[in-house]
């Protein structure tokens, strides 16, 4: 039983990868968001493409289906002129019982620079980072993290509200099972915002003292004082787990109905990571209001992911060079 070269105890250099928002400090987040501005501008050109990652190979390794996130990363890599490969679970040997480690080592043998990982189990991107020399970008792992979602959310919120320092943000719904929530809690608190988690106790993590957040079991009193109402997707299977009695009761207490949306401040943003359950966590009409920035979040996703790939793979090139290459 020979040990492979890298064992579990090998420390992971988190600065080489994007595994968790918690690995980023405030300056690094600011750098990524500033860089995103540049790539938003690139995206508005007639030929929205820069040669920054020419000759680099980026693989998307999705053990869990996600058309939106995969397309967003794929588009980002292509706009940076990287070569892209896609490794979906249905088309792979993973279904034949191949281990994650064997899969990543097989792909790495083909010569890759970055791997974008999505997995239904928390922690798989961190495990993969121990087994590969490639840069690992977490595209969502279990209930744990989805850092590029948090970056695009922060970018979107910042573009409307400016600096998020001192702003008040409510994250509403199934925080317990949500990687989007965990990433955004860390993102918004790192940027100095006050975060309130709003959910019935069954949909909150068992111990919220892990973060510097407030908790409310009622949405109504929170509405007038928040700058962002961030709604999470409510999944119907939570009923069968006895976490909520019915979706109807959930909507009655925590859904952003028209009446509730009216009580938000005039400039308050309504955000949602998608896909929405219209009529459950958000009323259909509310999703179409001018202060609902849900499609804008999606649009910013590509630019944010370009910024992430560029910073992790751009081999020391600085922002000014990107500006030059882009112009």
């Amino acid at each position: 039983m020979t040990a492979r070269l890298r064992n579990a105890a090998t420390p992971v250099d988190t600065s080489r990868h994007l595994l968790s928002v918690g690995d980023l400090d405030r300056d690094q987040i600011a750098e990524l968001l500033d860089l995103t501005d540049t790539f938003v501008e690139v995206g508005q050109r007639s030929i929205p493409k820069v040669p920054a990652l020419r000759g680099r190979t980026v693989v998307s390794l999705f053990f869990e289906d996600s058309t939106r996130t995969r397309l967003s990363f794929d588009t980002a890599a292509k706009r940076l002129s990287a070569d892209t490969m896609s490794f979906g679970v249905s088309s792979s040997s993973v279904n034949k019982g191949e281990s994650v480690r064997d899969t990543i080592e097989t792909i790495e043998a083909m010569g890759i620079d970055a791997v974008i990982v999505r997995h239904s189990s928390s922690g798989v991107p961190a495990q993969i980072a121990r087994w590969t020399d490639a840069v690992v970008v977490n595209a969502g792992d279990g209930w744990h993290q989805h850092p590029t979602q948090a970056l695009l959310d922060a970018y979107t919120a910042r573009s409307h509200l400016g600096d998020l320092e001192g702003r008040s943000i409510a994250i509403v719904g199934d925080v317990k099972h949500s990687r989007v929530a965990r990433s955004n809690i860390e993102m918004f608190t790192a940027l100095g915002a006050h975060v309130t988690l709003v959910a019935p106790p069954t949909l909150l993590p068992p111990d919220t003292t892990a973060w510097d957040v407030s908790v409310s079991h009622e949405l109504d009193p929170v509405l007038p004082r928040i700058d962002v109402c961030y709604l999470l997707r409510m999944q119907s299977e939570r009923m069968t787990e006895a976490l909520i009695p019915t979706l109807r009761e959930y909507t009655a207490g925590f859904g952003l109905t028209s009446e509730r949306a009216d009580r938000l401040g005039a400039e308050a943003l309504i955000m949602h990571p998608g896909p929405m359950n219209r009529g459950v966590e958000i009323a259909s009409e509310v999703a179409e209001r001018p202060n609902a920035v849900i499609t804008e979040q999606v649009a910013n996703g590509v630019a944010v992911r370009m910024a992430v790939l560029f910073l992790l793979l751009g081999s020391g090139r600085h922002l000014t060079q990107v500006h030059e290459e882009a112009s």
Partner: protein, 431 residues
């Protein structure tokens, strides 16, 4: 002594249930023939500065055979045990097939006969460990099985557990329970708390263990059966066992080295080496387990040695199998954590919790001392001053799921004697 003994262990500090004294110990054949000063032997083993103790006894060993020989065999596990100072281990029944019939009990005992450690076996309480129907406990008791457990899972059904206890009390055997209420633990992979919240991993609360401890204490009161609580991990469990003992109930309990050494924060890197059932708990639980051992509320240190292949341990954290190695680290961890740590346990009490107390729970007459003329020569020589760093080799185990890599510890087993035969010499297995 008219004639020289085969072996004399010279000048060690002899530690057994009766106390401590510095003396020579002479062995001839499979017996201790004398304990005293100035003994002569054909071969002399210098034990100056060392403890000479009864061989250690592990109430909780997963030997994986039959069925999982790629992770461990009875032979490899027994060698790891001998290196760890053990002269007897009790195999857990969650093998494939499970140890729930006379045929499998005989096979395990047969495979254990040539091993460098005395291999005893537990057997399942229920057929297939499925929790539905009683295993033939009378038939298996007649083969020498003294402890029955469905380890890996607890017996969930209250009525069935009551019947098992009633039946067992008529056979003079002990039921051991893996306390975990499955409706609270299903789908979980670590302790529920701050770390599970942060890591986005489904956690099980301490109450998943404590509810079953509470139930089984109540059923022990109802039935009068002897109940042994396996791998206790929470402060609440320790408190309930203390109360049950104070009330005169015939209950005993064990704790594993990882539960007095490691906390749930170890799971932060998603390395499934740190995944175990019951899970690594909070700092306050770790302290309560150490205190419970020091006070004697927890009777025994049992390893829950649970080998798994690297492939299995490299699966995603929520899908990897639970368990960690323990046989070769338990004694050093106990000295380091319990004697040198806040619990300030005496070394002789650690030896008691690893030798004579578990030997008595398991009903093993040849193990656990006392070290007197005429007793079986099952003993070990420990260098209490030796400091060493645990590596990732896994030792003699076929697996290497070691959660203590890089940890500096104190206390090392130098020699182990099994019925007079030196099976470990200067830390090397002799067969």
């Amino acid at each position: 002594m008219s004639s020289a003994a085969d072996i004399v262990i010279r000048g060690g500090r002899i530690v057994d249930e009766s106390g401590e004294r510095t003396a020579d110990l002479a062995i001839s054949g499979d017996r201790i023939v004398a304990v005293g000063d100035g003994l002569e032997g054909d071969r002399v083993v210098d034990a100056g500065g060392c403890l000479v103790t009864p061989g250690l006894v592990d109430l909780h060993t997963h030997l994986r055979q039959p069925g999982r020989e790629e992770a461990e065999t009875i032979d490899s596990g027994a060698r790891a045990a001998a290196l760890g100072g053990y002269t007897a281990v009790l195999a857990m029944p969650n093998t494939t097939p499970p140890i729930d019939s006379a045929a499998v009990v005989r096979e395990v005992l047969e495979l254990g006969r040539p091993a460098p450690c005395d291999v005893h076996t537990t057997a399942a309480i229920t057929v297939g460990r499925a929790g539905e129907q009683l295993a033939p406990m009378g038939e298996l008791a007649a083969l020498g099985v003294r402890i029955f457990t469905d380890d890996g899972t607890g017996v969930q059904d209250d009525r069935l557990m009551r019947r098992a206890m009633e039946y067992a009390s008529g056979l003079g055997i002990t039921l051991a329970q893996h306390c975990e209420v499955s409706s609270l633990s299903e789908g979980t992979c670590m302790h529920e708390g701050e770390w599970s919240s942060r890591l986005g991993l489904p956690g099980q609360p301490s109450e998943a263990e404590e509810l079953m401890v509470m139930r089984d204490i109540a059923l022990a009161r109802l039935t009068g059966a002897r109940v042994h609580f396996q791998h206790m991990s929470t402060a609440g469990s320790v408190a309930m066992i203390a109360a049950a003992k104070a009330g005169g109930l015939p209950v005993t309990a064990e704790a594993a080295p990882h539960h007095f050494t490691l906390t749930d924060a170890c799971c932060a890197g998603y390395d499934a080496t740190f995944k175990v059932h019951p899970p690594l708990r909070a700092v306050s639980d770790v302290a309560a387990i150490a205190a419970g051992l020091a006070s004697g509320v927890l009777d025994a240190i049992a390893t829950d040695h649970a080998p798994h292949t690297p492939e299995d341990k490299e699966r995603p954290f929520d899908h990897a199998p639970p368990g960690m190695l323990g046989l070769e680290y338990a004694l050093a961890l106990a000295f380091t954590q319990l004697v040198d740590g806040e619990a300030a346990m005496a070394e002789s009490d650690v030896i008691g919790a690893m030798s004579w107390r578990p030997a008595r729970i398991a009903g093993l007459e040849h193990h656990g001392g006392p070290l007197v003329a005429g007793a079986a020569a099952n003993l070990c020589v420990i260098d209490p001053g030796a400091r060493w760093t645990i590596d990732d080799s896994g030792g003699a185990s076929r697996s290497r799921n070691v959660p203590y890599v890089g940890r500096e510890v104190r206390g090392r087993v130098r020699h182990t004697f099994l019925f007079g035969e030196q099976v470990v010499s200067d830390g090397e297995a002799q067969r």
